[in-house]
């Protein structure tokens, strides 16, 4: 056991996989010599050399396109898109290429790669550098989508992503980079598509992802202490594949469900989960499924405004409390 920051876990996770497999290569902007603008890839160039860890021009389409061509022909590329907002300038590779090659060619074309990107708000970077884009990826058939909330999950889920034969979008939360957590020694390999009950409870189920997980847990503690409301918090961890069994089973026990999303409201992953639950667990529900999201607005830059926009511990707790009518 060692205590690592989420940021350090990223570098260790990449190193673990590059160590294991010489076909794993890593490209992106300022990732090599500079060790990444978030300092999450420090030391990799030194450890694996300039042929495996490569700085690129500001050419996101070239980065993602090259990763695909390499993946199709035998490598296992890791591509970094510095901020997830920039997926918008190379979205074609996610929406039309990575996700469709295998299907369109009747299984001939493979695309085993990972796109790592810094996702989410809280850094006061403004509307073009703070977005939560999980749903941009989840809505595209053929992609897998992962978003860890702890340093241990960063390593384990990243390893599972690199070893996965399909294209995986790996969303690191930029506000979690400095956060510390316990990490087992030695190789860590987790599994995609397994949600984790991070706080058992009986009164309501709270489904959360990434930065919203610690907030949901804090809200649950607050509800317990202040109102005796006992919430079960589920860290969704992987949106595709999606562990619907764990979520449906939890709702079957608690009879109420809340989602906590950082993305703007419309067509988020919360809408998908709520729809699945409303359809398949309708008769388990004792009350309406409720989504707690960032309002449907661009994110403001000023800290007071950004803090108001994103779901906070208080807003989560208050929403659950009101809706449970205590």
């Amino acid at each position: 056991m060692a205590e690592l920051t989420y940021r350090e876990a990223v570098a260790r996770g990449i190193a673990q996989e590059m160590q294991r497999d010489p076909d794993v290569v890593f490209l992106g902007e300022d990732i090599a010599k500079a060790g990444g603008v978030f300092k999450a890839t420090v030391g990799l160039l030194e450890q694996f050399g300039p042929l495996r860890v490569r700085d690129t021009p500001i050419s996101e389409q070239a980065i993602l396109g090259a990763a695909m061509g390499a993946a199709m022909t035998g490598l296992k590329p890791i591509a970094e898109i510095m901020f997830s907002d920039f997926i918008a300038v190379c979205f074609d590779y996610l929406a039309n290429q990575y996700s469709k090659g295998r299907y369109m060619t009747n299984g001939q074309v493979k695309c085993p790669l990972v796109v790592r990107t810094a996702n989410g708000g809280g850094a006061r970077f403004g509307a073009q550098h703070s977005q939560s884009v999980e749903n941009w990826c989840m809505m595209i058939p053929g992609l897998k989508v992962v978003a860890p909330s702890t340093p241990a999950d960063v390593i384990g889920l990243f390893a599972a992503s690199v070893r996965d034969p399909d294209p995986v979008i790996f969303l690191e939360h930029k506000s979690l980079y400095p956060v510390k957590g316990e990490v087992p020694d030695g190789e860590i390999v987790d599994e995609l598509g397994v949600a984790k009950i991070v706080r058992p409870g009986s009164d309501a189920t709270i489904l959360a992802l990434a930065l919203m997980v610690p907030r949901a847990i804090a809200a649950a503690e607050k509800l317990k202490a202040g109102h005796g409301i006992d919430c079960e918090v589920v860290d969704v961890r992987s949106l595709v594949p999606l562990d619907t069994q764990t979520m449906l089973a939890s709702v079957a026990r608690t009879h109420r469900v809340f989602t906590v999303e950082e993305n703007p409201r419309l067509c988020g992953w919360g809408a998908e989960l709520v729809s699945i639950i409303a359809d398949e667990a309708f008769y388990d529900l004792d009350g309406p499924p409720v989504r707690i999201t960032t309002p449907h607005i661009p994110l403001p830059s000023s800290e007071v405004l950004e803090d108001l926009a994103m779901p906070s511990v208080d807003r989560i707790a208050e929403t659950v409390r009101r809706s449970l009518g205590s």
Partner: protein
């Protein structure tokens, strides 16, 4: 406009034709057979639309056979092809069976992709044909990645990426070319300048006269323009570029001056072409006719060529028969191969 375009092909090309001596008789017969095969297969594809046996869209390479044949003939087994939706010829040129190509156009179960991809996405990994891409420019960076893999693993294959004149104005072209050059990748970029995008002449929307060659210097590359209707020139130019790429010399960008006889796609009657333009290209610049006459002049017997022609027609007819007899794809494959496990399960 018409004059200018007409004059273009030969006047603007900056590479010289090879003295026949340089290419072996066998190779030249192979180039003839290949061009004839591409011509007749595309002609058949066209006939099959008219019989309404091809659904959806389809983009023919009639008139552009010398480019596909010349570049493919110069490739080694294991070399990789990336092309566009206008990919029937490039697919056949790598040796993919005609019935699989026509079957895919017809959406039949015997198709190369069992009807899941369609005419715009012909792919045969076993033949080194890494795909036909229908988002303009998207495959240029992808081809760079395939070449990067070869460079990284020290494998000797090279990657060839075909695209059209109109593709030179999209962002992915710029990003891909710069990327290939700075990493010195073993990739050859081939612009088939057939004078038009879908319906709009390339000259009307491009800041330079030569859409590809006019951009070469922006990537530190030599501007190369060739007569795309002359298979010998295409072949020798391709060979030189492949050798350079294979020996670590990095990428080459080649602009081929060519012409498509039919409209952009089946939907296009190509009314926008100046009077006489099509006749000129068909009459004076037809790659198959040019090559046939050249071989006859070089002493190849009419009967030899006639035999090839007949053999090709036989194969086209055979392929057609196979496709017409083939069933549509079965419902079960609707949800196969979304993910590597063979299925489409996104949840447990």
């Amino acid at each position: 406009m018409n004059r200018d375009r007409e004059g273009a092909a030969t006047a603007r090309s900056n590479q010289q034709p090879m003295p026949p001596s340089q290419l072996s008789p066998d190779l030249r017969l192979r180039l003839y057979r290949l061009q004839t095969e591409l011509r007749e297969a595309e002609q058949r594809a066209y006939d099959l639309f008219l019989q309404n046996l091809v659904k959806g869209t389809s983009h023919l390479s009639l008139g552009q056979e010398a480019v596909a044949a010349g570049f493919a003939a110069a490739m080694e087994p294991g070399d990789l092809t990336f092309c566009t939706y206008r990919g029937h010829a490039h697919t056949l040129a790598r040796g993919v069976p005609m019935d699989k190509v026509l079957g895919e156009l017809m959406g039949r179960d015997n198709g190369l992709l069992r009807g899941k991809g369609g005419s715009m996405h012909l792919t045969s990994v076993e033949h080194g044909h890494m795909g036909s891409y229908a988002i303009v420019g998207a495959h240029i960076p992808i081809a760079c990645g395939a070449a990067w893999r070869a460079q990284y693993k020290g494998e000797k294959d090279i990657t060839v990426c075909f695209f059209g004149d109109g593709t030179t104005n999209i962002g992915a072209f710029h990003e891909g070319l710069n990327f290939a050059v700075i990493w010195k990748l073993p990739v050859v970029f081939v612009c088939e300048n057939n004078l038009y995008m879908e319906y709009t002449p390339i000259g009307e929307v491009t800041a330079v006269k030569d859409p590809a060659a006019g951009r070469a210097s922006a990537y530190g590359l030599e501007p190369i323009i060739i007569d795309g209707q002359d298979a010998d020139i295409v072949y020798t130019t391709a060979k030189a570029a492949y050798d350079k790429a294979r020996s670590g010399g990095g990428p080459t960008l080649i602009e081929c001056l060519t012409y498509r006889y039919s409209g952009h796609s089946r939907a296009d009657p190509a009314k926008y072409r100046p009077a006489g333009e099509l006749d000129h290209w068909k009459g004076q610049r037809d790659p198959v006719r040019i090559y046939r006459e050249r071989l006859l002049a070089a002493g190849v017997s009419e009967s030899t060529l006639a035999a090839i022609d007949a053999e090709v027609m036989r194969r086209v007819d055979e392929a057609t028969a196979i496709c017409k007899a083939a069933p549509p794809p079965p419902a079960e494959i609707l949800t196969t191969d979304v993910y590597a496990d063979g299925g489409w399960a996104w949840r447990n």
